[in-house]
């Protein structure tokens, strides 16, 4: 049953991915101009200008004048047959290398943020649910909404200022200048920890707020169920009861968010990363889109889409295992 379900879902993925790749490519090509426009704009600021014939020749060399379908075919056939995503025009390096270069810190940041969100949100959410309408619940709700309401980039700027003003820390990035290229040692690790809390808190706050509400709402639904009353009547200790039964069911919405987790591992928080100059993939993706570095942008969008699709599949499978009431498709 399970296998059949998985196979069917994987087969559905294929047309989805083809559609995604086409849409992705069209979106990248949609804005007027191309990468050379960026080059022209830069040269002009330097007081130089490119002759029209030179521009035409460059367009031809990059294949920017080819019809859309032919550009698409070159791109997609490279990916499918050789796993070659093409070269980034801005970075002057294979797209895969550019993305890989920044993967480590991106994953580190995403996982730390996730750990932070879960570690903070789940206990608070459970507390809020159990002690509903208490002062603690109101306080948690208040802080949670505040976290949701403050735009991330603003929060980032405020924390930057605070760390610059009161901690005398080097601003932006994940390391102080002297550790940037240093070999790994305890000092570098401590330096990293001294910097990484800012993005983790910023990105985590909004997530935490949402998560607190979800956990609270789900748990509240469960707490009034007859089985809870029964268990309580039978004398099960309150704490054990809470953790063993309602919490498990309340966890299913959390599991379904794993589907979004996978792509966010790659993209991180773009705006926050730009504001903080983090060495993650977010700013690279933004820059690729801005400067119409089409292969890099396309590569990013495609990978993100694929990860979303795969993530959704994984969370569906997990959900199915966690909660037998979820059916394996049509019957």
């Amino acid at each position: 049953m399970m296998t059949q379900f998985i196979v069917r879902r994987v087969l559905y993925m294929i047309p989805t991915l083809i559609a995604i790749s086409i849409v992705t490519f069209l979106i990248i090509q949609a804005p007027p101009g191309d990468y050379l426009t960026t080059v022209v704009a830069k040269l002009e600021a330097e007081g130089a200008y490119v002759d029209r014939s030179q521009l035409d020749a460059l367009r031809e060399r990059y294949g920017l004048d080819d019809p859309l379908w032919s550009q698409y075919w070159t791109w997609i056939s490279g990916i499918v047959t050789e796993g070659d995503f093409g070269r980034s025009l801005v970075y002057d390096a294979p797209v895969a290398d550019v993305i890989q270069d920044r993967m480590g810190f991106t994953i580190l940041l995403s996982l730390s943020t996730l750990a932070f969100v879960w570690a903070v949100a789940i206990p608070i959410g459970m507390y809020s649910a159990v002690k509903r309408y208490s002062i603690g619940d109101y306080a948690a709700t208040f802080v949670g909404f505040l976290g949701l309401a403050i735009p991330n980039f603003l929060f980032a700027l405020v924390l930057l200022y605070v760390s610059h003003r009161y901690f005398g820390q080097s601003v932006g990035g994940l390391f102080s200048p002297e550790y940037e290229d240093a070999r790994w040692n305890l000092g570098k690790l401590l330096d990293l920890l001294a910097h990484v809390w800012i993005p983790v808190i910023i990105i985590g706050t909004a997530g935490t707020a949402g998560m607190i509400r979800i956990v609270r709402a789900n748990l509240l639904d469960e707490l009034n169920r007859p089985y809870v009353t029964t268990a309580r009547a039978k004398g099960l200790p309150e704490r054990r009861l809470l953790v063993r039964y309602p919490s498990r069911i309340a966890a299913s919405p959390i599991v379904s968010t794993i589907g979004w987790l996978l792509p966010s591992l790659i993209s991180a928080e773009i705006i926050v990363s730009v504001v903080l100059s983090l060495p993650t993939t977010g700013p690279v993706m933004l820059k690729a889109l801005e400067s119409q570095d089409m292969y890099l942008a396309g590569g990013f969008l495609l990978i993100l889409s694929v990860l979303t699709v795969i993530g959704t599949l994984i969370s569906d499978i997990l959900l199915a295992r966690l909660d037998p009431r979820i059916r394996y498709g049509k019957r």
Partner: protein, 678 residues
């Protein structure tokens, strides 16, 4: 009479002979320096290694103390001692170029810390990559003639008519890997790059004249001659221009040969193996920033890239051991060990770093918004001072209505001179200056700046008074007297007159200026809609002639002849006459410009084919007369000076210098002789 410029005729670079280098004393000091170097590195080894150390472990332990009188950096002296580097006199040219210090003789060591915006932020590296055959004089004013072009890697002679240029290369200059720099390198650039149709599909305008590409001839090992078919007015200016002539000295033959099929039969295969589409992609790395990311590439610059900008979150350039310039005492430059660029993708981060005192010398990203008071007040806390950059622009924002608009109605409205005069009188320039630019600058139309020989009074001051009644008179005179219910004037088609101003967001405070203009124009019955977009989109909209109006940045305020498009629309950067520029560049179907503009083009063609500065000035004056009469664009005010933060420990940095295209500040002030007094 021909022009001849040698090293002895200029003041910033005088030559000294080998006899001036006190070889014996140098040796002794080297030995001393070495001893110190060893002790220090031993100490740092003890403290810095091991995982549980909390010190930054840079991985190299060759730092040492410079001894007074040492002619080279301690790290290099150590390498000479170790036998991994030839002694100094073998690395320097026979007559090294001497850099006259701004303040004093410096000491070795230290880091120049700054930042860059990303791998495509090539301009960040301009200050350390400015080594062409010739260069701009430090006090550049944009004057005509050759007074402000000084020898660098070569001295030069010019034939009387300005069609033939002979360069005598400085003998004994070496690439950063120790190979000699000779006429063969120039010839390699000429044959393998310029004449190769795959690398250079079309020769750039600065290398053509009379429709023909320049001919370069090798006279001997250290002499090359550039010959044009007809006289070429600004060839030496182009040779001093970072984006143009400096390229000539960026192609080390011995290294690049391996990537070129003319010299290596396997080049095509090698490129394919390295994952490139074709050999050109590998040869020039596909980008205008030629091989900036290649750390193996030999260079002639004071520092060479060791950590490229396209990976990681910083870029580092380290001392070039074969650098060919010295100070008046014969000490090899550069003084500073390295230049470190931290990645800063957001201007606010750059600003905070500067305020924190983590930036030694930089101006980029800082000259925006209301930063000036903040940076000014932070001087004491951040332990830095401010340097003035006199930006080479004559206007903060020229309103360029599209006079070649594809829409007939809009074209009819915009080309009406009375309409433009009306708008000009409607602008409260002093208010813009006070509100947006901290009261700095004065109302200005679009003439070159007052201190230049090209200052044109009519072009600077006509229609500049703020007078709403006068503005309404002119707009009425233009025939747009009918208004709709909102008080907006109706165009010839009966629709309200609307101007969509496409402007780059995030630069020059243009969005703020646009907001003010909206109010002023509404006052006289014209609707302005400001549309702030990314720089790329704004450029593309303008270059494809799809804009109603754009802002121009007033480039060429001093260097009017080098960056002339604000006065004669030869390039689409002239947003008021994109269609005319297309016609001039020979784009098929481009509409013929009106008679005065055609006359401007004729005059410009004469300017670039004349070598005599007097005639150039006279012809350009006529071009400005036509520009003034035509009143093609509306100016607002002269720009405020830019500022750079300079760490107090940075020395030999002047208080003031020119900036902006084509002057790659601070490069003409020889950053290689900046040093840190700590």
């Amino acid at each position: 009479m021909s022009v001849r410029k040698t090293l002895s005729t200029i003041t910033t670079a005088t030559s000294i002979g080998p006899a001036d280098l006190p070889v014996t004393s140098r040796r002794r000091f080297l030995r001393d320096a070495t001893v110190v170097g060893v002790t220090v590195s031993g100490a740092s080894t003890l403290s810095a290694c091991g995982f549980f150390s909390t010190d930054a472990d840079s991985g190299d332990d060759d730092s040492g103390e410079a001894e007074d009188g040492a002619k080279e950096a301690p790290s290099l002296a150590q390498q000479v001692e170790d036998g991994t580097l030839p002694p100094l006199e073998e690395r320097l040219p026979t007559e090294p170029l001497v850099v006259e210090p701004v303040e004093e003789i410096g000491t070795y060591g230290g880091t120049w810390r700054t930042y860059f915006g990303g791998p495509d932020d090539g301009n960040a590296f301009n200050p350390i990559n400015y080594e062409g055959l010739v260069r701009w004089a430090r006090e550049y004013t944009g004057a005509v003639g050759l007074d402000e072009i000084i020898p660098n890697l070569a001295t030069f002679e010019v034939s009387e008519d300005g069609s033939s240029y002979t360069f005598h290369l400085l003998e004994g200059v070496k690439w950063s890997d120790g190979e000699p720099f000779t006429a063969d390198d120039i010839m390699f650039w000429y044959e393998a790059v310029l004449l190769n149709e795959t690398v250079t599909p079309a020769a750039p305008p600065w290398l053509t004249s009379g429709g023909e590409t320049v001919a370069v001839e090798r006279v001997d090992d250290y002499t090359v001659t550039f010959t044009f078919a007809t006289p070429k007015a600004f060839f030496l200016h182009s040779m001093a221009h970072l984006g143009e002539g400096v390229k000539v000295c960026e192609y080390p033959r011995h290294y690049l040969e391996q990537f070129h099929p003319d010299h290596n039969d396997d080049a095509e295969q090698a490129a394919a193996d390295a994952g490139y589409d074709d050999w050109v992609a590998l040869f020039d790395m596909g980008n205008p920033g030629t091989r900036r990311h290649d750390t193996n590439m030999p260079r002639l610059t004071p520092w060479v890239m060791t950590d490229p900008p396209n990976s990681g979150s910083r870029a580092v350039a380290e001392r070039n051991p074969y650098y060919w310039k010295v100070d008046p005492e014969g000490k090899q430059l550069p003084y500073l060990d390295e230049v470190v660029y931290a990645l800063s993708e957001d201007p606010e981060v750059s600003l905070l770093r500067a305020l924190d005192g983590e930036v030694d010398l930089e101006h980029r990203h800082l000259n925006q918004g209301d930063n000036y008071p903040l940076v000014y007040e932070g001087q004491e806390d951040g332990d830095y001072r401010l340097m003035t950059y006199n930006y080479d622009s004559m206007n903060i924002a020229e309103i360029q209505l599209n006079l070649t608009h594809q829409d007939e109605v809009k074209r009819e409205i915009f080309t009406d001179k009375d309409f433009r005069i009306g708008l000009s009188h409607a602008i409260n320039r002093q208010e813009i200056i006070d509100l947006v630019y901290n009261g700095q600058g004065e109302p200005w139309q679009t003439s070159p700046l007052q201190e230049t020989p090209f200052y044109h009074e009519q072009l600077a001051t006509q229609y500049i008074e703020y007078d709403v009644d006068l503005a309404n008179d002119h707009l009425d005179q233009a025939g747009y007297t009918e208004r709709n219910g909102d008080g907006i004037r109706l165009g010839p088609d009966g629709e309200p007159i609307v101007i969509n101003l496409t402007t780059r967001s995030g630069v020059f405070n243009w969005t703020d200026v646009g907001e003010l203009l909206t109010d002023y124009f509404r006052e006289v019955g014209v609707e302005l809609r400001v549309d702030p977009v990314s720089g790329e989109l704004a450029t593309e909209t303008r270059d494809s002639n799809q804009h109603d109006a754009v802002f121009g940045s007033g480039l060429g305020g001093r260097a009017a002849l080098i960056v002339p498009w604000n006065y004669v629309p030869i390039s689409p950067a002239a947003g008021f006459g994109v269609g005319w520029s297309q016609w001039y560049q020979g784009v098929p179907d481009a509409g013929e410009p009106p008679e005065p503009v055609r006359r401007q083009f004729e005059l410009w063609d004469q300017v670039v084919a004349t070598f005599d500065p007097g005639t150039q000035e006279e012809l350009f004056g006529q071009i400005l007369d036509i520009a003034a009469e035509g009143f093609y664009q509306i100016g607002i005010a002269t720009p405020r000076p830019e500022f750079a933060v300079v760490k107090n420990s940075m020395r030999n940095v002047p208080d003031e210098m020119p900036s902006g295209s084509p002057y790659p500040n601070p490069a003409p002030y020889n950053p290689e002789h900046f040093f840190k007094d700590e």
